[in-house]
């Protein structure tokens, strides 16, 4: 399965995503610059974390206008895999590929700490091999979140 990791100006977790897919998942992976318009050689696309366009205007608001995003929308419409992490998730919300919008954290702090994750749904392609009871501790830095 061939992965593409999109790189916007300001993305900084593109290398993390590349490393994980290459070394841990063990699948072919390439970086895809945000000006690319052809994703046909990929089976899955990752929209990585970071600060695309410096978080200017709103997190992910300007990245949605990058040339690659029209291709990402087509890619998703074809039923192929699109996975957004952190700022990548914010970009997918701004692009309308995911519902909702993000607002500032209530305490206005940028929160960076280790958290435990619980698998809410293991009937997705990304979580189907994880037992619903396992929790993983991960580092989660963020300044904007979905309102409750």
């Amino acid at each position: 399965m061939k992965f593409g990791v999109i790189v916007f100006p300001g993305s900084n977790c593109d290398h993390d995503a590349y490393h994980v897919i290459s070394k841990h998942v063990g699948q072919p992976v390439e970086f895809v610059w945000h000006k690319e318009t052809d994703l046909s050689s990929y089976d899955a696309v990752i929209v990585p974390g970071g600060f695309s366009y410096g978080d200017y205007l709103r997190c992910g608001a300007l990245a949605k206008f990058s040339p690659v995003m029209a291709a990402v929308k087509d890619f998703a419409a074809q039923g192929k895999f699109v996975f957004g992490i952190c700022n990548g998730f914010q970009i997918l919300c701004e692009a309308g590929l995911l519902p909702g919008a993000l607002i500032r954290n209530a305490n206005l702090h940028f929160i960076c700490k280790h958290v435990n994750l619980k698998v809410e749904n293991n009937h997705t392609p990304y979580t189907s091999e994880i037992s619903a009871r396992i929790t993983n501790e991960v580092a989660m830095p963020h300044g904007c979140a979905l309102p409750p």
Binding site: L57, R58, F65, E94, A106, L108, P147
Partner: protein, 81 residues
């Protein structure tokens, strides 16, 4: 010709920045301030050759497609010569 665009959070959306500013304003001794909410202001310099209608329509589309997130924000456009 200039378009002035005001983008504000919808009234139902929590505004922690506004609340923080309100708190600081109260610390300065201002009383009877019921609430403060923060928004954004943009100026778009438009070609003078555009008609008023074209200018308004262009600015409204820019406001709707780029400057505001319609899920959580409202916008208002003013055209000035």
């Amino acid at each position: 010709m200039k378009a002035k665009v005001y983008v504000t959070l919808k009234p139902s959306v929590l505004d922690p920045q506004g609340k923080a500013i309100h708190h600081s304003v109260e610390l300065l001794g201002f009383e009877k301030i019921a609430d403060i909410r923060q928004g954004k202001y943009f100026e778009i310099a438009l070609d003078a050759a555009l008609s008023d209608t074209e200018a308004k329509e262009t600015a409204e589309r820019i406001a709707k497609d780029v400057l505001a997130n319609p899920v959580i924000e409202d916008y208002r456009v003013e055209i000035v010569q």
